[in-house]
């Protein structure tokens, strides 16, 4: 396994773990408040849709010429990575509230209690829909990351396996804890994923546009730490200049 493969597997694993934790919170909240059967059915249906989307888009993405694939996917990955990194830096610098899984769980439970009553028999439409939408929306980000990383590295199976390990691990942890996984260092993971997405986006985007990296693939060994150092520097600069600033909603 090459260094890029290790980077691919770790990035997908971390990104999927973060998204799976958020989806798990939603399913747990509606399941424990209203109907486990309906919430799990909604989550299962969403996983099925995600599998179909991956199976349909995977071959289409890999069929693109490598140059086109790298410039398009590299660009998208960079836009996506910069979004993740921006949020993570704002959170780390105190300008945006940290994501709190316990608070999200309570808010979701309160909304579930406030909704119309649970039907005596059959599926509860509220639980099904909320779980379906939650898993689908969080899962689409995972599909995007799996396809972009996997296609560029010619290793969609490795990306899909890393995603499956993350989802399975989070699912089992959720079943064992029977509570939202508030102890998962979600904000730190998001920071790391943002750094990896941005770094791979810079590398593949540049290469796809025709640039030749000094050292070839080994350039990633410089790009990833350089991106991390820049991001940490921005956190520090925002913290120093943060006095008197109000929290942002971005």
């Amino acid at each position: 396994m090459s260094g890029a493969d290790v980077g691919l597997a770790l990035s997908v694993l971390a990104a999927c773990a973060v998204e799976a934790v958020e989806a798990l919170t939603i399913v747990l909240a509606v399941g424990s408040t209203r109907s486990w059967r309906s919430a799990l059915s909604g989550a299962g249906a969403a996983l099925l849709v995600l599998a179909v989307v991956t199976a349909a888009l995977g071959p289409a993405v890999t069929a693109l010429p490598l140059g086109v694939l790298r410039v398009v996917v590299g660009g998208l990955l960079l836009v996506f990575g910069l979004q993740w990194l921006r949020k993570a830096i704002l959170r780390a610098s105190g300008l945006k509230a940290l994501h709190d899984e316990a608070a999200a769980f309570e808010a979701e439970q309160a909304a579930a209690r406030g909704a119309t009553g649970v039907p005596a028999e059959g599926l509860d439409a509220y639980s099904f829909t909320v779980a379906f939408k939650g898993v689908l929306l969080e899962g689409l980000e995972v599909v995007f990351i799996v396809l972009t990383f996997g296609a560029n590295q010619h290793n969609i199976p490795l990306a899909a396996a890393a995603a499956a390990v993350a989802v399975l691990g989070v699912g089992l942890a959720g079943v064992a804890a029977h509570a939202p996984l508030a102890r998962v260092p979600e904000n730190t993971l998001k920071f790391g994923v943002g750094v990896m997405l941005t770094s791979f986006g810079i590398f593949w985007g540049g290469e796809g546009a025709g640039a030749h990296w000094p050292g070839g693939d080994a350039a990633l060994l410089a790009i990833v730490p350089a991106t991390l150092v820049c991001a940490l520097g921005m956190v520090r600069a925002l913290r120093r200049g943060g006095t008197g600033r109000t929290a942002v909603r971005a």
Partner: protein
């Protein structure tokens, strides 16, 4: 039907572009400049890292007010 298409388009826009459209435009511009410089035979590898750092800093600057 039209409202559904609109909501799908809004979802795709939000999913890909996110909170700051200027960053997406900047990334597209940086890719274009890289392609032009590389095509002309110049050294182009430095453009994407510099653009990424600049775009991130500018986006944070706007968000922090």
């Amino acid at each position: 039907m039209i409202s559904r298409v609109r909501s799908v388009a809004a979802f795709v826009w939000d999913f890909v572009v996110g909170d700051d459209w200027r960053t997406a435009v900047g990334v597209a511009a940086a890719l274009g400049v890289t392609a032009i410089v590389a095509e002309a035979g110049g050294v182009a590898w430095w453009i994407m890292p510099v653009a990424a750092v600049g775009l991130l800093a500018a986006s944070l600057w706007r968000a922090a007010g």
